[in-house]
Amino acid sequence: MLQIKPILSTLMRNKSGPILLLIQIILSVAIVANASFIISERIALMDRDSGTAEDQVFNFRLYTFDTNIDLESQIQRDIRAIRDLPGVIDASTTSMVPLSGGGWSSGYTVGSSEETAKDTEGAAIYYGDEHIVNSLGVELIEGRNFYEEEILTGSPDLATHGIVSKAFAKETWGDEPAIGQIMYAGDFGEMPIKIIGVVDKLQGAWVNSSYLDNSVILNIQLVNVFTKVLVRAEVGTLAQLKEAIPATLHKDNRNRVIEGFTLISEHRKRVYRNHELMATVLSMMVVLLLLITSLGLAGMVMFNIERRTKQIGTRRALGAKKRDIISFFLVENYIICLVGGVIGGFVAVLLGQQLMSLYSLPQLDLIYPLMTVAGLIVLTTIAVILPARKAARISPAIATRSV
């Protein structure tokens, strides 16, 4: 019914055209499958949630170069003044900013005795006061926040209480409750930190690290000439706070530089920029490749129609319906597509393996070549039907003419 045999013999009679089409389809499947795999992988990376209120939280840098002041009370005054500004929900000093690409990280020692002690995975370390949880907009799901009197000022080594992210708690203590556990900032027994709370999700600063979801918040207000300040404010108030915060702080003491106001959502854009760039360029490639393949195919079909005008006219004269003519071209295309798809699938896997061995890419998922072949079949159907309709209109009378 599908007239596969006559189609095959047509294909065999003039091999070079179909072979070229076959090569094109094989390469297209290999490229498109791998490219769309990389694209979807990058999109999945970019979709991860940082756990914070990204549109509300911003940070800025505060650099005090006045040496004749008590830095500690200066910073505390500054933070209080910021919290009182209209639009501000909360504010805290911090050691790092989520998704910003720079910050602090470390592993800790856990265990019940010196012999069984082991190192944890790395975790991002946020030093802040009792306002940092609210300033980040993260959700506390177990335990409690720091009390005001638990906050210590000065050096990071003093930390005694910690709030950890759920991912870090699970990785470190498994199903045991994290609340009440002790971990050590030094070797076993040195600088103990008691876990008092767990937040649902809080990411660190490095989106390509393997421990992005591991975070620890410690009860220290850092006192340093360079201070990072985290502010959570109503959406849309940043533009006005950008003016109000320096004005307020400069009124208190002029000898500092205040700059670098950045929303976490902007950090996100910047830190994922390369992934987004890769996804965009590859998508561009996929679209253009499919376009070129279908245009090329349409061109070939047009040419074939012209060459086969007499043959088509004869077939029409012998009783073939218009439908049959179109299906002839379609089946011809499907045969090439399927053969090309199968070989292209293999080539795609080979190419994927090559990329995997050379670069840090995961193994190609088989669904991608399959999807690509399916997509190509749909696309080539359109590319074939449009010119083939013209072929179907060829009058049977053409067969009776000699030229």
């Binding site: 070079s16 055209g17 070229l20 089409l21 090569i23 094109q24 390469l27 297209s28 290999a30 490229i31 791998n34 490219a35 990389i38 840098r61 650099y63 170069f65 006045d66 040496t67 050096s155 080594d157 030094g186 070797d187 000439v225 360079f226 000898n255 500092r256 530089v257 700059e259 920029r273 390369n274 987004e276 760039l277 890769m278 965009t280 360029v281 590859l282 561009m284 490639m285 253009l288 490749l289 376009l291 070129i292 393949t293 245009l295 090329g296 061109g299 070939m300 040419f303 074939n304 012209e306 060459r307 990329l355 050379l358 670069y359 840090s360 890419l361």
Partner: protein, 433 residues
């Protein structure tokens, strides 16, 4: 003859405008994509040190303990940098890191600026060929006996002193007065090979101060600070004596002989440090890399770019196969005409070259159009992603590379169809007429 073929080719292209357009489009898109990725790749992998690449070497030391990092860190500890500076083997050498300081002038109304500052030695400027407009680097003596001297760049000089010769004037960094000794021309090699720790495609710092001031002024490090050892660092002197890696170190050697000599010197240094209980890993060693090796080592060209160049080359192949198919169809359709030409005396070689000229013309069109695509896509990408200028300007070499690749690729793709057509037997076609 060439121009006659060109005329024939142009007529043939005009006869089938749609098909010709398709072919030019196919090749131009392939070229456009390839040139886009190639351009970014080339700009990233450029070796900005040029012929000095072999003379400049980055020093790395495996100073970490037994179970620590499994590779050389790309920076040194302060104590190692301090000791290495005493070596008299290299011609020049410099330790450095980046910091940030508040900048003020003698004008009280000047709003303080936070500027990134490179803390380095006097040799830095000669080693990395920094051009000066006014003055020069601080004296070599300052590298051991610290003085509050500073080198600024042209842009900052324009901003602060409206571009005048500012040698001898004073500016304030963190409220301390520094005397200006030199003003450099705007100079920003890309990649910023001597410090790739915080991104290789940033602009170079605008202010340079002596490294010898670091222990006195306690400059904070704005770069990467990496520790393998758990030690408590609460003040600057603990930092200077720690095992934390945060200093970049480069040396300049005259030739390979001196490089070997320096490697020997470093080997002895490692052994000497082992005697006092440091460098306790069995793998403890020193490693020297010239600029080319250094760029390779630090993977300045990201993997993504290599993948993109590879995929776009495959893309170009698809475009060529596409074009090959179309050409074949087109040429074979013209077989009767060729039969007549052959019958009245055109040789095979003539037919072949006639078609190759046509193919070359299509390739040229594709190359030119491809350049336009590349320019469009680069400017779209740079505005959409706010990329560094140094990565998205269309390199001048591409003006030549694009048409050459396009014509060459088109000729390769056109060879088979042209061969097919010139080997047709004239009598077959003459008969059917």
């Amino acid at each position: 003859m060439f121009f006659y073929y060109l005329d024939l080719a142009w007529r043939s292209i005009k006869k089938t405008p749609l098909m010709s357009l398709l072919m030019v489009l196919a090749i131009s898109i392939g070229i456009g994509i390839t040139i886009t990725t190639l351009n970014v790749y080339q700009l990233m992998s450029e070796n900005p040190a040029g012929e000095r690449s072999d003379k400049l070497v980055a020093v790395q030391l495996w100073s970490q303990g037994k179970d620590a990092w499994k590779e050389f860190n790309n920076q040194l500890t302060y104590q190692d940098a301090y000791n290495l500076r005493k070596s008299d083997v290299p011609v020049r050498q410099t330790a450095m890191f980046i910091t940030g300081l508040a900048l003020q002038t003698e004008d009280p109304d000047f709003v303080p600026l936070l500027e990134s500052v490179r803390v380095t030695d006097s040799d830095f400027f000669d080693m990395f060929s920094v051009p000066f407009i006014y003055g020069k680097a601080w004296d070599k003596g300052v590298d051991t006996e610290a003085l509050y001297q500073v080198v600024i760049n042209e842009v900052l000089n324009k901003q602060l002193f409206s571009g005048e010769d500012s040698i001898g004037k004073t500016l304030y960094l963190d409220s301390k007065p520094y005397q200006i000794v030199g003003v450099t021309k705007t100079w920003s090699p890309s990649p910023l090979y001597f410090d790739v720790t915080t991104g290789a495609f940033k602009d170079s710092a605008q202010i340079f101060v002596p490294f010898s001031l670091a222990p006195i002024e306690e400059f904070q490090s704005w770069g990467n600070n990496q520790s393998w050892k758990r030690e408590s660092i609460n003040n600057y002197s603990q930092r200077l004596n720690s095992e934390m890696h945060w200093i970049q170190f480069w040396a300049e050697v005259q030739d390979d002989k001196q490089r070997d000599e320096y490697a020997q010197w470093l080997k002895r240094y490692v052994e000497q440090q082992q005697l006092i209980g440091r460098f306790d890993s069995p793998e403890a060693a020193a490693q020297l890399s010239n600029v080319a090796q250094w760029l390779e080592l630090n993977e300045v060209v990201p993997e993504d770019n290599k993948i993109l160049v590879g995929l776009s080359a495959l893309f170009l192949v698809v475009c060529l196969v596409n074009m090959l198919g179309l050409l074949l169809a087109k040429f074979l359709k013209r077989a009767p005409e060729i039969g007549v030409r052959r019958a009245i005396g055109a040789s095979r070689a003539q037919i072949f070259s006639q078609h190759m000229v046509e193919v070359g013309l299509i390739g040229f069109g594709g190359g030119v159009l491809g350049l336009v695509w590349a320019w469009v896509s680069l400017s779209l990408l740079s505005s959409r992603f706010d990329l560094e200028q140094s990565l998205t300007h269309l390199d001048t070499s591409m003006w030549l590379i694009a048409p050459v690749i396009a014509i060459f690729a088109a000729l390769v793709a056109g060879t088979y169809p042209a061969l097919r057509i010139c080997s047709t037997n004239p009598s077959v076609h003459l008969k059917s007429q």
